[in-house]
Amino acid sequence: MAAIRIENLRKGFGSLEVLKGINLDIADGEFVCFLGPSGCGKSTLLRSIAGLEELDSGSIRLGDRDITDLRSAKRDIAMVFQNYALYPHMNVRKNLSFGLALNGMKRDEIDRRVNNAADILRISELLHRKPRQLSGGQRQRVAIGRAIVREPKLFLLDEPLSNLDAGLRVTMRVELAALHERLGVTMIYVTHDQVEAMTLSDRVVVLDKGKVSQFGTPLELFYQPANLFVAGFIGSPRMNFVTANLVRQDRSELTLSGGGLVRDLSLETLSSTVVAKDKPVTIGIRPDKLELVSPEEAHLVGDVRLVERLGTESHVHIALESGSDMTAVVRGTHPVANRERIHLRIPAEHCHLFDADGKAIARALDPETQMLINQEKSKRVA
């Protein structure tokens, strides 16, 4: 068993509190990403699990063992560092076997593990080389190999692909996913790249200013963001936000008006949701869901500032009449041009709604999306 339970973990550096009470339950064999902007505490959290940072308070359990006060070496973990941290004066074989040899492991067993890891990562022909004689991708494989030979219960990966070029990153991402599938070991992966997090993870922990903003499957984060931060952070181009006022609530139907809207917008929430009338709400809409319509159908009006043509699609940056900015994604051949007046409709079924505190107001998803999310969750449980 290598499930991880983190309870009320706090860590600060001097007067700066970096982790402000983290609670997480990660299942055995799960691939979990810690995702967040720079300075959100994701690397500190990973290093705390690794035992490289001393906690201020809280506890960490790995399987049925409390590892909070255990030395790093005793935690049964392996870590892959962002800059590989290969010993430059040792060849690849020595890099892989160094830790094992010093822990008193027998020569035969070391050779078996090193050869096995080299086979898995296809680096057998590189074993005699020094790190400087390897490409970025090969170095990364060796760094992962050094983790594999330990046969740990938990892999910790700290932005392992961030030093690679875009093409190699995609290749290594696929290889990492295959490696996780093959080894079936719990992996925690730190990244600030949402594409990596979304494609690799069973679940993603989104961190914001030292707190868990949301912990869910990639599709959950995308379709059911728990708050404004997650909604804005997940998805590219980022979600658009428009403030509005609640003018009427008729059971589950809300009518929004004013703010950035030029026409009332009615939408359904879950029947149990009660929305405060005197406070503004924020409407969130993904750029690809905005529709270019005639003036009489429009909820938003603005001027095109810039059109970025990417081929299959174009990103249209719009300055709204209300003063805020917005991005719409249209088909690549759409004739929209700079400085053109543009009218946009917000399809109610694709809207996200957030209260004045930035928390999501629950809305029903379309059945197809809901089914996908359920499938993703059940796959994780299985």
Partner: protein
């Protein structure tokens, strides 16, 4: 047609001029150093080599003697061998102590979090003090009757020896005084320690590599080039040992601190035999050069350079 031809000539001349300027400009920029090197390094070097083949008194006629100075020194001058032996003994103790103590001091300064800047300055300061001031301080420390060292020993009931008057202790006293200036070596090693990525240690820690092994298998190999550099410079400075011995013990007692550099100095400025002294300098140069080359050769086994590719490392293609 004429115009083209007439226009081409100055163009060629201009190109020629600019080529000369291009070629000469770098040398002009470094010319102050070249002049300094010619007049103050290469010139005296060639001059001293020439002198070493002459019987060259300060006053009187110079006579070409060929290799006689060298022959006499090696076969008929016991003081040459004695002073050389004292210098080798000094170097054999001073060099390892200088490097080991500098290394541990650097390690300590690297790891302390409190007042590291103060300690760094405090340890480095003695190495910038002038030799004469340093000797004055140490002559006071070593004084038999009024010395600080013997006073401190008396506090624990030990009757301190005559540090500078005992032939067995005098060289130890000079070694200790010389080690006082290890700040420079320490600073070089400290810089090297700071350049080692901390992730290497973290990776080792996670892998369960104990602290002593991290020191042995990560710190020392990564410091290799710095250790080699300090090794060679320590050998050179050991062979050049003059100021402390000259001012502190004047080569005594009973010639126990009569270093090779002092032997050269005496031949030059006491006996005014410049040719013989120059020959001595060249012998010292050859010994230091041979030792340095030997160390360089030996270092291939333990010094690692980031950019270096050795034959047994593989083909080097990434």
């Amino acid at each position: 047609m004429d115009m083209t031809y007439a226009g081409a000539e100055p163009k060629v001349a201009r190109r020629k001029r600019s080529a000369i300027a291009r070629y000469a400009a770098p040398y002009l920029f470094i010319s102050p150093w070249i002049l300094g090197f010619l007049f103050f390094t290469l010139g005296p070097l060639v001059f001293s080599l020439t002198m070493s083949f002459y019987d060259w008194p300060v006053v009187g006629e110079r006579t070409f003697v060929g290799l006689d100075n060298y022959r006499t020194m090696i076969s008929d001058d016991p003081q040459f061998w004695e002073s050389l032996w004292i210098t080798v003994k000094f170097a054999a103790i001073y060099v390892p102590f200088n490097i080991i103590m500098s290394f541990f001091l650097a390690l300590m300064l690297h790891n302390i979090r409190f007042a590291s800047g103060f300690f760094r300055t405090a340890f480095y300061l003695p190495s910038v003090i002038s030799g004469v001031a340093l000797v004055t301080i140490w002559s006071w420390i070593y004084s038999k009757e009024y010395g600080l060292l013997n006073f401190m020993l008396s506090l624990v009931g030990i009757d301190g020896p005559n540090w500078l008057g005992d032939p067995n202790l005098a060289i130890v006293a000079i070694i200790i005084a010389s080690l006082w200036g290890l700040g420079g070596t320490m600073l070089i090693l400290l810089t090297g320690l700071k350049a080692i990525p901390k992730e290497l240690y973290e990776a080792a820690t996670v892998s369960g590599v104990p602290g002593w092994a991290q020191m042995l298998f990560i710190t020392l190999p990564m410091l290799g080039p710095m250790l080699l550099f300090t090794f060679i410079t320590s050998i050179i400075s050991a062979f050049q040992q003059l100021t402390i011995a000259l001012l502190l013990t004047k080569g005594g007692p009973l010639g126990s601190t009569y270093f090779f550099a002092m032997y050269i100095y005496d031949n030059a400025f006491k006996y005014f035999d410049m040719g013989y002294a120059a020959a001595g300098s060249w012998v010292m140069f050859i010994i230091v050069l041979a030792l340095s080359l030997g160390v360089m050769r030996w270092s291939a086994a333990w010094v690692y350079y980031e950019g270096e590719v050795r034959q047994n490392d593989g083909d080097g293609h990434a």
